[in-house]
Assembly symmetry: C2
Homo-oligomer: 262 residues x 2
């Protein structure tokens, strides 16, 4: 079962937008999909229309339960919300997740709690997508330790390029010490504007750095992608013919083909 | 001496762009200004043209020195780089700052190391501006504990609204327990596009929430602001007549008038 972590410590590059629309794309095609919101901001939770005030169990509760108990069976299930036919399931995040670093720091095998939690549901899903916070702290390390592949959204801006080497260094350490299976699945260019020289320059640099890991699909800057979260629905469902949604539908195909080829 | 922290845990909202251009604006008007880059990504350091490989001492070294030594005199000075006449000085950040949380966590008065460091140079500057990382961890708490005011850049997007209550909660706790002087200086709307309904909606909500704390100046979306970092110069200097630079020049005036009024 592929577990794809959507990571990049640079803020605002499109992690949540990619995680939400990819999970929606996979579920719409009939794949049993779980989206894990691992960002205390809980944007993916809101992006899928979940009311945070009504949530009973979150990823924070899962980490707390696992930090002092070896048994991972049945720990994740209470936190999973089903959103209905053709939709992904979701493990929501609320503000309490901001306290996760302290809980994880004191746990034995502090990088592996998420991996253990996801293992307990591995036969119930075809895909798991994880939305990471904008940092390389212990939550993101847990995501890298649990993932089979990573997706790196790359905003076509200068500052976004700066963080790449730090991210690669972190991925290499996790791969060497904790998760030898970890691979870079796809680097996906986001908020691309072909008229803009900077966008084209970033695309060149990213392609030079990552070669064929760079997704064929490029996500254009598209206002529908930023309007959809306000309605609690992925753009893929709310504005299916918008440029942004069409691009994410294409990206879903590309990810499915990549896995079929493995 | 005003110390303004530029904070918002939502990623990519314009924290660095605001910190760099405000610091440049203040220095250009003859105010002795120090910019502290407190984000391990080190974007503000690059945005002012500093070569990270040539840096000898950083904010991480300052935190390390203070974590096991009460004496703060002379600790910050070695990390300060002067960039020349009419330019801000800078305390740079490099990747090692990612290790700061662990250093701070074990220090006595873990929230107060930055405050102590800045006190040792308080008579040498008229202004200190601090660029925060996209999180509410111990580095950002240190910034809130050290600041007299905060600037909250607000990207005109739905997800950016979500994090406001968490940010306000954190500011309230720091104000109550650690820094009673802390005030909200200005909330500044960034990447605003008047043609876009979402931008107008966010502006309404933010004005309802913050009232007269919302800056008169609105920063438009302007490609020059994102191109300037590639040249290591603030847009205020590189493209002074661009819409983005003009808006930041206006914002500099607004901040100066605000302080004159106090
Ligand atoms: N292709 C796009 N076109 C236009 N707007 C976009 C696009 N992708 C994302 N956005 C908007 O840009 C903002 C940043 O995107 P998003 O929140 O997905 O990034 P992120 O990397 O998850 O941020 P954070 O680092 O805070 O977790 C959001 O308001 C989102 O709606
Ligand atoms: N008004 C603007 N118009 C166009 N682009 C902008 C504007 N402000 C900032 N940008 C660009 O948007 C991106 C995000 O801005 P910036 O890096 O300043 O945000 P940040 O809040 O510091 O991000 P992080 O959360 O990663 O620290 C950058 O590439 C920047 O160049
Ligand atoms: Mg996000
Ligand atoms: Mg920044």
């Amino acid at each position: 079962m592929p577990i794809w972590g959507v990571v990049n410590q640079k803020g605002g590059v499109g992690k949540t937008t990619t995680a939400v629309n990819l999970a929606a794309g996979l579920a719409a095609k009939g794949h049993r999909t779980l989206l894990v919101d691992a960002d205390p901001q809980g944007n993916a939770t809101t992006g899928l229309g979940v009311d945070k005030r009504a949530v009973e169990a979150t990823l924070f509760d899962v980490f707390s339960a696992l930090s002092n108990n070896a048994e991972s069976d049945g720990v994740l299930k209470p936190a999973i919300l089903s959103l209905g036919e053709g939709q992904p399931d979701i493990v929501p995040a609320t503000l309490d997740l901001a306290g996760a670093e302290a809980v994880l720091l004191n746990a034995v095998g502090k990088e592996l709690l998420l991996r253990d939690a996801l293992e307990s549901v591995s036969d119930e899903y075809d895909w798991i997508i994880i939305d990471a916070p904008p940092s390389l702290g212990l939550i993101t390390i847990n995501i890298l330790a649990a993932s089979s592949e990573v997706i790196v959204p790359m905003q076509c801006e200068f500052y976004a390029l700066e963080g790449l080497s730090q991210l690669m260094k972190t991925i290499d350490i996790v791969k060497k010490r904790i998760n030898p299976e970890l691979k870079i699945g796809r680097v996906i260019l986001t908020m691309y504007d072909g008229r803009n020289k900077l966008s084209r320059q970033v695309r060149e640099e990213v392609t030079e750095f990552f070669g064929d890991k760079v997704a064929q699909t490029i996500i254009p800057r598209n206002v529908r992608l930023s309007e959809a979260p306000g309605f609690g629905e992925p753009a893929l469902q709310l504005y299916p013919s918008s440029k942004g949604a069409v691009a994410y539908a294409e990206f879903t195909e590309e990810v499915l083909n990549l896995c079929a080829a493995h």
